[in-house]
């Protein structure tokens, strides 16, 4: 029933890997979601395996009702992204996803080289809330049905992302 990725990957997205890569993998994820936490090392391994053949894009889909810290975690990742440090924060959050209180988020911000007071102000005023909401709405329109949801070259991947062999095969097939 998915109508495909809406909007398509664009310049505002957080992307790792070459824009001309034959495969673009988009994840709609939530930093506090344990399944996304399970997916994190799997995706990292796929990135290592596929190298320049893969571009990986992350979009926010915080499930705020289930995960009370997910929204602020997403906003802090966006704040880091504005300073060119999105992936540093993305990785830090997934490596510490059981410790995502505001105080810890500010510690992580400082650890990667951001001014924690500026990040605290951003959280306070909701500077990045619209951006996160925009990702979330795009996700709903794209047919996101839980977290994580992956799209391979714009099509929702309904296979087993937690089976590294199956995931790799789908990506490899899309690249050929």
């Amino acid at each position: 029933m998915s109508g495909g990725l809406t909007p398509p990957v664009g310049p505002d997205d957080h992307a790792a890997g070459p824009a001309g890569a034959p495969v673009t993998l988009v994840e709609y994820g939530d930093f506090e979601c344990p399944y996304c936490g399970q997916a994190y090392p799997i995706v990292t391994a796929l990135q290592e395996r596929l190298g320049d053949r893969l571009r990986f894009v992350f979009r926010n889909f915080p499930l705020k009702e289930s995960h009370p810290h997910a929204e602020h975690a997403a906003e802090v990742a966006e704040a880091a992204g504005a300073s060119g440090l999105f992936w540093e924060m993305h990785d830090t959050l997934y490596e510490h996803q059981r410790a995502l209180t505001d105080a810890r988020l500010l510690e992580y911000a400082e650890a990667i080289g951001l001014d924690p007071r500026a990040v605290a102000r951003d959280l306070e005023s909701g500077t990045w809330a619209d951006r996160v909401r925009q990702d979330f709405r795009g996700g709903i329109r794209s047919g996101v049905n839980g977290t994580p949801t992956f799209f391979i070259n714009g099509e929702r991947f309904d296979g087993a992302w937690n089976d590294p062999g199956e995931f790799l095969a789908a990506l490899t097939q899309a690249s050929s």
Binding site: M1, S2, G3, T6, L63, K64, E65, S66, F136, R137, I140, R141, S142, G143, V144, N145, G146, D158
Partner: protein, 163 residues
């Protein structure tokens, strides 16, 4: 074999079901605004939980269309109450419990041999007429994109044009 859902253009059969041990919801009470009926097989099973949890997060978008969302399964009221509390569900979960699945049957959304409802979605217009229906494979969470497209058509809005 999948059930044959009531098709678009059909007036939605009215029903009154318990939402909590002492509260009922009648479909006819909701005339005047769009209604989303989400039949799902069971509380607590992982996929259902995800689907209802997802709709819970999307509720503000549905309300943006003035639409009401009702979840319906054959689980009893106490089961729904525990599930709704655990998942912090902010919309009614109706118990199609006695006679079991009677409402689901009238919508063509009952799985006879499983004794549960299908994973079926209906969007009704303000006059209580079915405008869109969709039956998902029971193991697949259908997401909400189809519901939103149906609401767009119903309200004459274009996707993404809402503020």
């Amino acid at each position: 074999m999948a059930a044959t859902l009531l098709a678009p253009g059909t007036p939605a059969p009215d029903f009154t079901l318990h939402a909590t041990p002492d509260q009922t919801v009648a479909l006819s009470e909701l005339r005047g605004r769009p209604v989303i009926l989400a039949f799902y097989p069971a509380d607590w099973s992982p996929v259902c939980g995800d689907q209802m949890a997802l709709y819970n997060e999307i509720l503000p978008e549905f309300h943006g269309y003035g639409a009401e969302l009702l979840g319906i399964s054959v689980d009893g009221v106490w089961c729904h109450a525990a599930f709704a509390r655990d998942r912090k569900i902010h919309f009614p979960l109706l118990a199609d419990f006695e006679p079991k699945g009677a409402v689901a049957r009238r919508y063509g959304a009952y799985r006879e041999h499983d004794g549960t409802t299908e994973r079926a979605l209906f969007v009704l217009d303000a006059d209580g007429v079915i405008r869109w229906s969709y039956c998902s494979p029971v193991g697949v969470n259908p997401g909400a994109d189809g519901i939103l497209r149906a609401l767009d058509e119903l309200t004459g809005r274009t996707a993404g044009a809402r503020s």
